[in-house]
């Protein structure tokens, strides 16, 4: 019953979105609050209806309704329950509905959070959001209907692809979708600002918060995907520069560029046009990402059938969005112009702009490499392939440039960096960085990119550590707090800056994790129980794995052959590990479960590649012969640690609250809406806007020392 109601809910959600969009635009145009209220209620209603529709799909999975085409293709009776639930996003049809659901959620959230704020923008925001939702519902209903029926009811479904039967299936897609869909909200605000002409400070503030939230989920989603690939695909790798992976990177890159250039707009009032364009571009990139994945246009390992209808629909949508954004920006160009200029090449504004250019350069390289085969085929007719070698060759140098900028940016002076400023802030970190490189060289590291990554990484970490140290110490001195408390307060009072620094630390750690791939070791051996294999890691540890034997187990929908390995490191016993070969029933497919043993510095990675043809014939050791691949992957754990640090840094930066600097001047009483938590020394009063000959007045207001 619920599936049927769900289908019905999906059908009526479409006219509701269209109604809401009309109401929103008319209400905004004519200033009619009742129409706008109707539009906002439509947003809530659509979210509720999409939730009902999604519940309907999930119910169909949970009750084994194989008369639904979608259920019969992605589920089976013996599938675990949580995979049945995740069936909602397992395939094209359901995942489009899932996208719409996420979009509905964020739209409802945006409308609700702004029910008393930004009222001059909200009609347009609601209108844009409803139109985007309408597009996705439309595609779902007319091209890939999730509730399509078979003319009969199969006894059992075909089951879920075994490579998806992993707990990451419940985590990675939802996180990724939250990230992608959330980018629609700042886009809607951007369009609303352009339409209404309110191109002021408020737009930046609300946009920045949303982009940070989306970025948080998208980053997490991508890192989860990497972890999943590493755990499940059994190649010891975590990123393959596959077109679909690249597609998810594009909006991430553009959003990162925006997060940086928006800082310039806030403090120097520049780059308004650029930022507006970046927000629109981020949204278009999310649509492009889902277009690439779903249309099947780019041939990749993921051989889904070409779906021209989906391709055309998304291409059309992207074209329309691009055109509207461009026209609106051009229309408002005069109001967006700023009168300031870049003063010098060696300044923070330049460093930020350079960051943007380099990031977008990387994005362009990824886009080009992904689309190149398609373009070449279209033009010359010959098919070519562009793979990981290209992406690595292009992106590693760019990544190193970005790494360096992360250290230079925070510290270089605004406006004009003098030689003195440069020397004071960069001499020691550069020396330390070069020193690190030299030390590693002496220790035997010869791989150029790895050396550079570590050298530049240490350079950045040093600079950030000094920043934290200076700030904490100054605050401790002034406030009389101990260092720990001073540190906490320091961060609390300027979350954006310090949260951002923490994110940079996470990125450096992650890059070092990537660099570890230069030192991977691998060995392959066929063994019977009792035999062992040894491998020495780049750090000098020797691991010895002894094959103890093979055991069998049966789970709900698969057979398992589990190999038990006893592990020793440098002669010290460490316990056991297992690696498995699984044979799924529906659909029938073998799979390998790797064994991973992580320490802080490296991963021991074991793959059971092949079993003897006669496995299971008896307990004779000969029947238990198996081929193992054993790898040691140095520094891979740092990728996950880096991801965690990035997440923490982002949360700190996003966290609401935090003090507004107190304004001291004037007898104006009510300044409503201001939250003044703490007020401490170092807050500049308005009156301190004086200058030069004021130096005697300064100390009274702003005590010496870096108390931010």
């Amino acid at each position: 019953m619920l599936p049927a109601i769900g289908e019905f809910a999906l059908w009526i959600s479409l006219p509701i979105t269209l109604w809401g969009a009309v109401m929103a635009f008319l209400g905004g145009r004519w200033g009619r609050g009742d129409l706008v209220l109707s539009a906002e209620r439509s947003v809530y209603a659509v979210f509720a209806l999409l939730a009902v529709a999604s519940a309907g799909i999930i119910a169909a999975f949970l009750t084994d309704r194989f008369d639904f085409w979608y259920v019969s293709n992605y589920s089976s009776r013996n599938l675990e329950t949580y995979f049945k639930v995740s069936g909602l996003w397992a395939g094209q049809r359901g995942s489009l509905l899932f996208w719409a659901l996420n979009l509905g959620f964020f739209s409802a959230l945006a409308v609700w959070l702004n029910r008393k704020k930004n009222r001059d923008l909200m009609p347009w925001v609601s209108g844009v959001l409803l139109l985007v939702i309408a597009f996705f519902i439309g595609i779902t209903l007319f091209i890939t209907p999730p509730f399509e029926r078979l003319p009969f009811t199969p006894q059992d479904g075909r089951g879920l692809n075994p490579q998806l039967q992993n707990y990451w299936m419940t985590i990675h897609p939802p996180t990724l979708y939250l990230g992608f869909t959330a980018f629609t909200i700042p886009f809607a605000f951007a369009i609303a600002s352009l339409l209404s002409g309110r191109l002021d400070a408020r737009w930046i503030e609300v946009t920045r918060k949303w982009i940070l939230t989306s970025w948080f989920f998208l980053t997490l989603g991508i890192v989860f995907g990497m972890r999943w690939a590493y755990e499940e695909l059994g190649w010891g790798g975590y990123w393959f520069w596959d077109p679909v992976e690249n597609a998810s990177l594009l909006p991430w890159i553009v959003a990162t560029a925006f997060l940086h250039s928006v800082m310039i707009q806030e403090s120097r009032g520049m780059l308004k046009i650029w930022n507006m364009a970046l927000v629109c571009l981020t949204f278009i990139m999310t649509i492009f990402a889902t277009f690439l994945t779903r249309s099947g246009l780019i041939e990749s390992v993921h051989s889904f059938a070409l779906s021209l209808e989906i391709a055309y629909a998304f291409l059309g949508f992207m074209g329309v969005t691009f055109a509207i954004s461009a026209i609106l920006i051009l229309w408002r160009l005069p109001q967006l112009r700023s009168d300031r200029q870049f003063e010098s090449f060696l300044s923070r504004e330049s460093a930020f702009l350079l960051n943007n250019l380099v990031l977008l350069g990387a994005g362009f390289a990824v886009l080009w490499g992904t689309m190149f085969p398609l373009i070449t085929e279209g033009i010359t007719g010959s098919k070519v392939s562009v793979g990981p070698p290209f992406f690595n060759q292009v992106n590693i140098p760019i990544g190193l440039m970005l790494l360096a900028l992360m250290g230079i940016g925070p510290v270089i002076a605004w406006r004009r960096a003098s030689a003195r400023n440069l020397k004071k802030n960069f001499l020691i970190p550069t020396a330390v960085g070069i020193g690190t490189g030299v030390v590693l060289w002496v220790m035997g590291v010869r791989h150029l990119y790895a050396l550079l990554t570590f050298a530049i990484g240490v350079f950045v970490l040093w600079i950030i550590a000094v920043e934290f140290w200076k700030g904490t110490r100054a605050r401790a001195r002034i406030e009389g707090e101990n260092l720990a408390i001073a540190f906490t307060h320091l961060v609390k009072r300027n979350r954006r800056r310090w949260g951002g620094y923490i994110v940079h630390v996470g990125v450096v750690v992650m890059f070092m994790g990537f660099a570890g791939a230069a030192f991977d070791r691998e060995v392959r051996q066929s063994m019977v129980p009792g035999e062992s294999v040894s491998i020495t890691s780049a750090f000098g540890h020797t691991y010895t794995l002894t094959y103890e034997g093979l055991s069998t187990a049966r789970a709900q929908n698969m057979w398992q052959w589990i190999a038990l390995m006893r592990v020793e490191r440098d002669g010290q016993p460490l316990g056991t590990m297992t690696t498995e070969r699984r044979f799924y029933e529906a659909p029938p497919q073998p799979m390998t479960e790797v064994g991973i043993r992580s320490t802080a510095f490296e991963d021991l990675y074991v793959i059971l590649s092949t079993l003897d043809e006669q496995v299971g014939m008896g307990n004779d050791p000969q029947f238990q012969r198996a081929t193992f691949q054993v790898m040691v992957n140095p520094l891979v754990p740092w990728i996950w640690y880096g991801g965690l640090i990035i997440a923490i840094g982002t949360l700190i930066a996003m966290w609401p609250g935090g003090p507004v600097p107190q304004q001291r001047a004037g007898s104006t009483g009510a300044t409503p809406g201001r939250r003044d938590d703490e007020k401490g020394p170092g807050d500049p009063g308005i009156g301190a806007g004086a200058d030069g000959d004021r130096s005697s007045a300064e100390p009274a207001r702003t005590p010496v020392g870096a108390a931010p």
């Binding site: 009742d34 209220l37 507004v660």
Partner: protein, 174 residues
Amino acid sequence: MTFILGIVLATLVVFFILHPLVSGRSAPMDRSEEELTEAQHRKRIALFALRDVEYDYHAGKLDEDDYRKMKREIASEALEALAEEEQEWAARQGREAAEAEKRAATNGRVATIAGDSAVEDEIRALRSSLKEGLICRECGHPNPVGSRFCSACGSALAASPPAAPSGSPAGGSS
């Protein structure tokens, strides 16, 4: 049964979204009083920027000339925003006072007037101080009549020009 539930769902939804048109209930279209105005936002951003500049200077990332220059720029922006904010506030108080008077006249609610008269007094005092007082030359802060030093930045007011003698409220332009 399912059919009935479907109809009920559809009816509820349609009712929910059409209700405002029928009843005339309206979503707020104007800025609420709690929300920051554009001027307050600009002031807020300017204050943040000022704080960052202070920090950068004290951390040695900004040399003295640039520091003063930037500080002056941002401070003047902040003052503009602040002055605008004061205008808005005064205007709003004026509006509220006028409305309260109207209400009092029609309903005879003395209590309201009493509460508002305190506010009214403050407004009058502010206006007169602005009218007859002095604008600080250094920082642009309006000071009440009779002040010798600016209450915001501390500089001497003696040499400052008098405020505009016209009857306009808040002559505060820096």
